[in-house]
Symmetry: C2
């Protein structure tokens, strides 16, 4: 089985500086998909255009026999079925989700994993019931530390066989906006987005929103499962325990203007006024500023912001670019949130390619 | 603009034998997406899992102002709107679609374009109205040769600026099963699949099913647009005019058994009986045989076929594999259709990476 696994827990490879994408990375890219950036025009991403990242396979879970046990450090263990969830208070949040690995393939050198460029994002209306009152009914033990969410999806990752599992701390999980979700955009959850029930933890990168929920366990010690302790951490090297990846860093993206060349996706626009627009978001507070550069990041102009449609959804922005002279241009966009955190122009490299919010760059030819 | 274009009509590059996937190819792979193969379990592919190939950008077309002119070599030019289409006879066909470039990245050397492996396929219920009676009402001229379908999607491709356009011959287009489609799986067409109206030409590779229809023109000379005369042809080299890509060649795919390793997608199964199952289809007739090899194509066993659910939809198949000895295996599957055409085990290489129906190979470790 040497062909299957690295040594347990070992970090994935980093590509050589001039190394192309491998067939293994392409296998991931052909299954998982980003949101074509022209879909930034929609407040809510139409079904099928929202980004999708599945670690292993999409499991088939029968909704009629599905049960969700809530066990561990609780006074009254519970078991819920779909009907029980649907009779509880119904809440809808519009939430922008972004994969923690978004931007990984823009890092140089490139950590080898799902090779996202800019597109691993989307916004949906998620409907379900708040989790905090359910945990309150179960009665968390006073010394409860973490709550572990385990999915039905099963695989190996760097030699570690596992059901996908992620924890949130008790304070994070008792946030009133954390939901057990059974609908996406008004329809039952599709298979690929976690049917029949998934977690939505607004503001967090995608890894926290566990899909195909199988059980919830409250634990008295910090959870040290693979996805918390090894995978989703900001490490500089293999010996670095790293900081955990948590909430979404501020980011803005633009709809690439004009029209594309098929093979290169380079943009072509005509001279004149070019409307630039897109969306911006942050998991740590409202976006308060979006800036555009048309000279590769040397100078910046502030865009006009649209209304903030809720605490967890992206915000629109727009700016008219006077493209008066034919030639090649590199457009950039960057966001700043209310805490003053701004997107970097240089890469915030880390060993696992996580949480890359380096400013987007779009190559444009004005003719 | 040298960075935008090859010389007009020039063929795309072929990668060196050991060359990784380029960033340009990754840009396409991150936007367009295949169907995760575990979705072969569904008769009809759930929304969002059907493969998607968009040459340029997904255009935004307002359905309320959308009109479809039918002009050229007709007695009575017509213009239809969405309401007019919806009052005409309503027909639903369940159709398996496959991208003509599916399997391109399995070719060695690899033609550089959208780098599909095996996943560019899906089956949907397409609802619309037959096109032939509309063309009959318009009155085709006796010397009409081709019917040209043009979409709202615009871009450059190998130096040729174009709206995506493809023709079908008059006999092909008068097939009673060719539809102008406004619904997919019972819902209005989603933006990425051609809203508000697309063509569905059952049995043909994906390039024929023009999305975001803008107009239909009947012509008296064979159509020589880029997508017919240059792109979708089976060429051996740059000087070869090539044969046109037309109907889908026979193919079978399996749901990869067991569970995957994240980084390699290699499968792990336990010793014992392993159910193998999947789907098979052909655009030139019913699939009559599916065979499985568990030794890389040396020996073959015949699978059990499910019912044929209609003339244009894939057919299920299954076989139990007695995986008695631990070790590494290469599984293969191949289909044969009623015309006796069987999938090749060796690659049917061509210069543009078209219509590759080489047998699927799945690496499995039995433990």
């Amino acid at each position: 089985m040497t062909s299957v696994s690295a040594r347990p827990g070992e970090l994935a490879r980093v590509a050589a500086p001039d190394e192309g994408i491998s067939v293994d990375e392409l296998k991931l890219a052909a299954r998982n998909h980003g949101m074509p950036l022209e879909a930034l025009r929609y407040d809510v991403t139409p079904p099928g255009l929202h980004y999708l990242l599945v670690h292993y396979d999409i499991p088939y879970v029968d909704p009629t026999s599905w049960r969700l046990p809530i066990t561990g450090a609780v006074e009254h263990p519970l078991e819920l079925d779909l009907a029980a969830l649907r009779t509880r208070p119904r809440v809808t949040h519009t939430v922008t989700l972004e994969c923690a690995g978004n931007g990984r393939a823009r890092f140089l050198p490139r950590p080898v994993s799902q090779p996202w460029l800019d597109e691993a994002v989307g916004t949906a209306e998620w409907t379900g019931t708040p989790l905090a009152p359910i945990l309150a009914e179960a009665g968390l033990a006073p010394d409860a530390v973490d709550v572990v969410f385990t999915g039905h999806d099963h695989g190996t990752e760097r030699g570690v066989e596992q059901d996908y599992a992620r924890s949130l701390s008790v304070p994070d999980v008792m946030d009133e906006d954390v939901l057990l979700v059974y609908e996406m955009n008004g329809a039952p959850l599709p298979p690929q987005h976690g049917a029949p029930v998934r977690l939505i933890a607004p503001g967090w990168y995608g890894m926290a929103h566990v899909k195909w929920l199988r059980d919830i366990e409250v634990v008295r010690e910090p959870f040290t499962g693979f996805q918390n302790a090894t995978a989703y951490r900001l490490k500089q090297d293999a010996d670095d325990p790293g900081e955990p990846v948590t909430r979404i860093r501020p980011k803005a993206l633009m709809v690439p203007p004009g029209f594309p060349d098929f093979q290169t996706r380079r943009r072509i626009v005509d001279t004149g006024d070019v409307p630039l627009f897109g969306r911006a978001w942050s998991g740590t507070g409202t976006v308060v500023r979006v800036e555009i550069s048309t000279d590769g990041g040397t100078s910046w102009r502030e865009a006009e912001l649209g209304p903030q449609p809720g605490p967890y959804a992206w915000r629109s922005w727009r700016l008219t670019w006077q493209a008066s002279a034919p030639g090649d241009y590199e457009l950039c966009v960057r966001a700043t949130d209310e805490r003053g955190e701004a997107q970097p122009v240089d890469q915030p490299w880390n060993r696992q390619g996580m949480a890359n919010n380096m400013a987007q760059r779009v190559d444009v030819t004005v003719r």
